[in-house]
């Protein structure tokens, strides 16, 4: 059998699921040109394509906002649920409990997660639902035209000049505090960092939370904003250089043990964290929290893997849930027999 060069070239673009990158795209984005959210969408597509995830096994979730629209723009072969403002975590918790084989991806905004949905976000950290949770953080409500959100920094100015003097909510600090086992922060413009973080998140057993600074070019990209492209570029301090090696990779990857830490993930994949200027230990909860607090005080934006703990039980594990997805259980599994009803009736006689 002979293969034509054209067919070969196409084949070279297929991932281990036999799909090309186009299979991971969604419908055309309707966001403003240059919006950070679109860049994140592309990084999500890259991560899923490169990992060779079966799109049909993914379930996408979101709340309401420009950011929450984006699940329509990636993985069109996956089912998705665009829910109500702030409540994505609840919907995702229900769906992923009902079918524990789904790969859950939630996309939310800073308004969606840190304002109206703050409670739900905090609770999903506590419950440790197995999913990837992304906050596309632009410091404002994009969809309602630029009001401050609860992640806006003190001293940050709105486009019209209004000053924010309320303390910001640091969603990553909350995540670490409340028991989330995979916490990262990144920047929509830094695919080199974000893509490995996304891949690592998909190998994590539990909730993986990534706060991605994602500038709103229309309402929060001016001088005086702390979520603008320029501000982020000036203040971004990468904690380490990230690499991801998937479990199915046969060739072992060379790294310098003196400067690089290997972080093993439950499915056999691992992250490599190459030291940059600073020393940072993502396994130490207290130092992670104090480093984050210090960075806020000094106006630094620390990005990278902030915290990792693979030993926390997930919600499914805590509930001692059967291995089979609940949705596959049939009447025979679920409806107790006649004798059981009779026995129960007897207790009421």
């Amino acid at each position: 059998m002979t293969t034509t060069p054209v067919a070969e070239a196409t084949k070279a673009n297929l991932n281990r699921a036999g799909l090309d990158k186009a299979a991971y795209k969604g419908s055309k984005s309707t966001l403003c040109a240059g919006c950070g959210h679109d860049a994140i969408t592309n990084h999500i597509i890259t991560a899923f394509y490169e990992l060779g995830v079966e799109p049909q096994s993914v379930a996408k979730f979101s709340g309401i906002g420009c950011s929450s629209k984006t699940p329509a723009y990636f993985l069109s072969r996956s089912c998705g649920f665009n829910s109500v403002h702030g409540r994505m975590p609840a919907v995702a918790t229900g769906a992923l409990t009902a079918n524990r084989q789904l790969i859950g991806v939630g996309v939310s905004g800073d308004g969606d997660s840190a304002s109206i949905g703050l409670n739900h976000m905090c609770q999903i950290f506590r419950r440790n639902v197995r999913m990837l949770y992304i906050v596309e953080n632009n410091g404002v409500y994009g969809l309602t035209k630029g009001q401050f959100s609860a992640t806006a920094d003190v001293g940050s100015r709105q486009k019209g000049g209004a000053l924010n003097d309320y303390e910001p909510i640091d969603t990553c600090a909350l995540a670490i505090e409340l028991g989330c086992g995979y916490v990262a922060r990144s920047f929509s413009g830094d695919g080199k960092q974000l893509v490995p973080l996304l891949k690592g998140a998909l190998s994590h057993n539990g909730l993986a939370f990534i706060d991605v600074i994602s500038p709103c070019v229309t309402f929060n990209n001016h001088d005086g904003s702390t979520k603008s492209y320029d501000f982020v570029k000036e203040h971004d301090i990468r904690l380490h250089e990230l690499g991801f090696v998937p479990h199915y990779e046969e060739v072992s990857v060379e790294y310098d043990e003196g400067t690089t830490t290997r972080v093993d993930l439950p499915d056999g994949s691992y992250l490599t964290l190459k030291k940059l200027e600073r020393t940072y230990d993502p396994f130490d909860k207290r130092s992670a929290l104090s480093t984050l607090a210090a960075s806020r005080a000094s106006n630094e934006l620390l990005t990278g893997l902030l915290f990792l703990d693979e030993n926390r039980p997930t919600l499914d594990q805590r509930m001692k849930l059967t291995e089979r997805p609940l949705i596959e259980l049939t009447e025979a599994d679920l409806r107790p027999g006649r004798a059981v009803l009779e026995e129960i009736m007897e207790t009421y006689r």
Binding site: Q56, C79, T93, G94, T322, L326, I327, L329, P336, M345
Partner: protein
């Protein structure tokens, strides 16, 4: 002295948290064990301990089960309420009171039996806490003697109540004996109330509505329960947790159900919808304030066509209202819960048996119609003890509705989530995780076309709303139909739903005795089936009996059947207490008198 046999009410007035509930249940079950129909209602405060609480038992061998307002036998154990409790008694009633209270009898027209309950309990134990609890069993002993309760029936009830825990059983039997002995030695029976063994409760059960609803959820195949505690709903999910814990395990002992105590009712419904979208049978349970919080999600469920079951055990509102008192005040809100043109399937059980059957049916309807289904009960049904025939094992298999598998898709070759293929308004759905390339779709609360794509096009949006309306048209013939009891001549009709049923049943007989002959239709579900219109059409005057102030069901009837609006009249009851027959009869009789003039 005449005897009043197997037909009286007992009211025990105690202090919340004093442990009287066990004694009251023993008393109730003793009568039940003697084959005499009875039920018990707990009128309790919103308080953990210290405030007054009343337990009422209605014994009635004719089987009437609603509350009777008048008290025949009052057991007064509460210092703080005894004056008011006594004042409310009609002449000839029996007053049994605890001599340890400072109360001294002032009424001559009552049959009064003072009893040193506390001192008698002291003969059984000196431990103060235990003594307080056992004091309650002493009045059961006293009543055993006075009413002529069969000692065997009482002992069986004690055994059952204390789950055969030997020490508790023997202490309680001891206290009981003290009551019996005191009555025998120190009291002379001067009242008319007596019980006599019958054979009317054989095989029957005594159960609370919330436990029955939870059984419905268990046998209905519920796998995900998300809830947030609230009176009077909490005992429903708690019963489900208990039942599922016993009866839902795989061969490795792992749970084939999930219960999540959510952070609020918003999240509860969100979790239910996530689970329903994924293909599970999911439920939540709440009361009025929780329903208010669920509003936005209810609309999302309606519009995205996502199944889920919501039990609403109604209490008296608005706001916190009377959290431990009953009402039917949520029907109007639930009927169209959310903003925009929303409507819901609502089931309205009247009995514990219907809590069970509708509890199951709700999951079938939610799956069939891909929409949230609300099961509206109330505190009276949910938290009180009702006598019932035992629940029959369901013969109907689960109806999982129109779900397409990968092989279905392969065969059909195309899929559009919101296309009305069958003309019944119900589209087909796929579940996330379905491996077929055609399976995926995106659920969204924003406008969408048949292919589930975003749209703002006027015609597409309108088409969606109209198809949803068609779906509810189909639902009319699938929800439980009204049950009509004929007794009239086409002049007067009564309409009621839920727990009002029991008062209306008795009221029908009372009215007939007054010469008012009426047919009675009990509504059991929304959307209102066509039979409701036929009932309205075939009567000159229709009284709508309900437990709220504004005539909510009547408003719905007027909205749906404007041609008959003029013949509807509201019979209302809204003081937080369970509805009694006299309240219904008096109002209707007065209206009928007016119509006659």
């Amino acid at each position: 002295m005449d005897t009043t046999l197997n037909n009286f009410t007992i009211q025990v007035a105690t202090v919340n948290g004093s442990g009287s509930q066990s004694a009251n249940l023993v008393l109730l079950r003793s009568i039940f064990n003697m084959g005499i129909p009875c039920n018990g209602k707990n009128l309790f405060p919103s308080n953990i301990a210290g405030l007054p609480t009343w337990f009422t038992i209605r014994v009635d061998e004719r089987g009437y089960a609603c509350r009777r307002k008048d008290v025949d036998i009052c057991v007064a154990m509460n210092e703080n309420t005894i004056d008011a409790d006594v004042n409310e008694l009609a002449p000839g009633s029996v007053l049994i009171y605890n001599e340890a209270l400072s109360y001294r009898p002032r009424r001559e027209d009552l049959v009064v039996y003072p009893c040193p309950f506390t001192a008698l309990a002291g003969k059984v134990t000196t431990e103060p806490k235990l003594k307080k609890l056992l004091t309650n069993m002493v009045y059961v002993g006293l009543l055993q003697e006075l009413l002529g309760l069969d000692p065997v029936a009482v002992e069986q009830a004690v055994q059952k109540q204390f789950a055969r825990k030997a020490k508790a059983v023997s202490l309680n039997l001891g206290a009981l004996k003290e009551g019996v002995a005191f009555a025998r030695e120190k009291l002379t029976k001067r009242d008319a109330f007596k019980v006599e063994r019958r054979d009317l409760t054989a095989g029957k059960i005594l159960i609370e509505g919330n436990a029955a609803s939870a059984l419905g959820a268990l046998f209905g195949g519920c796998t995900v329960c998300a809830w947030y505690p609230i009176t009077p709903s909490s005992s429903l999910p708690e019963a489900f947790i208990d039942l599922a814990g016993k009866h839902r395990h795989d061969k490795d002992g792992k749970a084939t159900y999930a219960v999540i105590q959510a952070e609020d009712e918003i999240a509860s419904l969100g979790m239910v919808l996530g689970a329903g979208w994924a293909g599970a049978r999911a439920m939540t349970s709440t009361s009025g304030p929780g329903i208010s919080l669920m509003t936005e999600f209810a609309g999302l469920a309606y519009f995205t066509e996502t199944p889920g079951v919501v039990f609403d055990v109604q209490r008296a509102g608005p706001s916190t209202g009377l959290p431990t008192r009953t009402a039917q005040g949520d029907i109007l809100k639930v009927a169209c819960l959310s903003h925009g043109d929303t409507q819901h399937i609502v089931l309205m059980p009247a009995s514990v048996e219907e809590c069970f059957t509708f509890g199951m049916e709700a999951f079938d309807l939610a799956d069939r119609f891909q929409t949230p289904v609300f099961v509206l009960t109330d505190l009276d049904l949910g938290m009180n003890v009702w006598m019932s025939d035992p629940f029959r094992y369901p013969e109907k298999p689960f109806d999982r509705g129109k779900v397409l598998s990968a092989s279905d898709l392969e065969r059909i070759g195309k899929f559009e989530r919101y296309r009305d293929v069958d003309g019944d308004g119900i589209p087909y759905r796929t579940l996330p995780g379905n491996p077929h390339p055609l399976a995926s779709w995106f659920a969204r609360g924003s406008g969408h076309n048949e292919a589930a794509q975003y749209t703002e096009k006027p015609a597409e949006y309108k088409r969606k709303l109209e198809r949803l309306a068609r779906k509810f048209e189909t639902a009319k013939s699938r929800v439980p139909a009204p049950i009509v009891k004929n007794g009239g001549d086409g002049e007067v009709g009564l309409l009621a739903y839920g727990t009002s049923h029991w008062a209306v049943l008795e009221s029908c007989d009372q009215l007939a005795a007054l010469g008012v002959k009426a047919d009675y239709a009990r509504l059991r579900a929304l959307p209102l089936p066509d039979a409701v219109e036929q009932f309205l059409a075939s009567h000159r005057r229709v009284y709508v009996v309900e437990q709220n102030q504004s005539g909510q069901m009547m408003a719905l009837l007027r909205m749906h059947f404007p041609a008959h609006a003029g013949k509807l009249r509201s019979i209302l009851h809204y003081d937080g207490m369970p509805l009694d027959a006299a309240t219904v009869t008096e109002q209707i009789a007065a209206c009928e008198k007016e119509s006659a003039n």
